[in-house]
């Protein structure tokens, strides 16, 4: 690992000042960043350790909005009584990710900032437009079994690896960020981006911005939500396909539906058209199958991942059945 300077920020202001300079990276849990530094995929000149900042709290405000600090641990959030009661989908998604040890280190902000696990991104002897813009994409014609079927570009077909982010996208969370210029709010679905011509950019966070937390607005999905993760082994593996499903059901009729998928795109993939199709429909398998077909419009398989074109709709139907309690 390339040597680097290390700084521990004591206040949010000093962290923001420190990251305003080039070559500086924030470290929180370090579960992804230290790994990438060991492999030489990234080599910052300086790390700013933000673990002393007061961004760990989980609270509910009077409007029923759930506020989660950027430094709350994945394990803490997944077991928080407030989260389990108000937004159980988020707890389910978190528990489906990583291992207990990693969840004890990883933070909410860090989870959002993790990089793709595309093998060509990790292997520094291979071309990768995300790691080295302009070098090409090894996955496009390579072994692309884990790769995207939605929103790809000819520069990158990598997927975002997070489970937590899929749930937050479905729940319509918001991200709060701070920089020298002040604070702003980014809708969660706008936080991560599609690769387009700039796969090196994972998200819309501007230079010098610090994630301070996420906010989930009050909703009525707690009773009928489910996170389904399909992977090569039962636990501790990245998703081939995952589905976050949240329903508000009144007397057997769907009032509102939220759906997002993981393992299929460069960002958590919200299924807006399928959501619209579900509104007003009976909460049964037929409606779910229709929604799953609608969700797959525009999907495109590559040499080794075309199985996802069948797996994804089946997973959507299955997740919705679980959410509706008819699985």
């Amino acid at each position: 690992m390339k040597p680097f300077q290390y700084t521990k920020a004591v206040t949010q202001q000093s962290a923001i000042e420190a990251i305003a300079k080039p070559g500086v990276k924030i470290i929180a849990g370090g579960t992804n960043l230290v790994d990438l530094m060991k492999r030489g995929v990234t080599a910052p000149d300086k790390l700013v350790d933000i673990n002393n900042l007061p961004l760990k709290s989980i609270s509910l405000d009077k409007a029923g909005q759930l506020h989660i600090g950027a430094l709350a641990l994945n394990s803490t959030v997944s077991e928080s009584p407030l989260v389990l009661e108000q937004q159980p989908l988020l707890a389910m998604a978190l528990k489906a990710g990583a291992s207990p040890q990693l969840r004890n280190m990883a933070t909410v902000g860090g989870n959002m900032m993790q990089r793709t696990r595309c093998a060509y991104f990790y292997d520094t002897t291979m071309p990768c437009n995300k790691r080295q813009p302009g070098s090409g994409c090894g996955a496009l014609e390579g072994y692309n079994r884990m790769h995207a079927i939605f929103g790809t570009s000819n520069k990158c077909i990598a997927v975002h690896p997070s489970d937590m982010c899929v749930a937050l996208a479905a729940l319509g969370a918001e991200v709060t960020v701070s920089s020298r210029k002040g604070s702003r709010v980014i809708p969660f679905t706008d936080f991560h981006r599609l690769p387009g011509d700039h796969p090196e950019k994972d998200n819309t966070l501007a230079d010098g911005e610090l994630i301070t937390g996420v906010v989930i607005s009050n909703n009525k999905f707690a009773k009928n939500s489910y996170y389904l993760k399909i992977r090569d082994r039962q636990s501790y593996a990245f998703a081939l396909v995952s589905v976050a499903a949240a329903l508000e059901i009144n007397n057997g009729t769907i009032k509102e539906a939220r759906l997002a998928m993981g393992g299929v795109a460069h960002k958590p993939w919200r299924l807006y058209d399928a959501e619209k199709a579900l509104a007003g429909k009976p909460a049964n398998e037929e409606s779910f199958n229709q929604a799953a077909q609608i969700a797959m419009q525009g999907a495109k398989g590559y040499q080794f991942n075309s199985f996802k074109l069948k797996l994804a709709p089946a997973a959507i139907t299955e997740a919705l059945k679980h959410a509706a309690g008819i699985a």
Binding site: K2, Q5, Y6, V10, N51, S75, S99, Q101
Partner: protein, 214 residues
Amino acid sequence: MEDERAHILPEADSGTSENSRRNFLKQSTLLTAIALTPATAVKAAEAHVDEKIAGAFEKMPVKLEVNGINHSLSVEPRATLLDILREQLDLTGTKKGCDHGQCGACTVHVDGRRVNSCLTLGVMVNGKKITTIEGLAKGDELHPMQEAFIKHDGFQCGYCTPGQIMSAVACIREGHANSEMEIREYMSGNICRCGAYPNIVNAIQEVKEGGFKV
């Protein structure tokens, strides 16, 4: 803010080695002070200490309590807790498997929480309490989980075993050992290539159901 690089760069670059060294020592002293003083004092000191803590090639003072013994160490920012335990403290019970957070052989407890020590930078756990496999037994008396692993043959080659046992103890303490399924899920961060999983689950169940103090 003044140009920090003059203070941080290694001597070879700055050409003012004494100055650089003095500044580093000054900052190090402040850092130690921060670890020991109340919030008001931290607030007073932070304006100076925040930006310059350790240069890329300089070692930082780190205090660790490992298995009840206090250590004052000097470590590079890039040294992982795993390497510090094994190479500086000669605590080689904690194993380096994949070194990338995938196998769990390096599992230790930091302030009672199980983590992968291979992905933990030593400078980030300054002032914390670390428990390794060497810290479980009381003298010659093995920890109940160690006894159970022996009784149930919870290993073959033994390389993953220290990590398995540290995880197994945490699994029970966290309240995640209530069924075979739950144990398997919450032990999934520890890989055993010999495939001793059924016996590991049996060992954990015995300790859990036996009501042993873990």
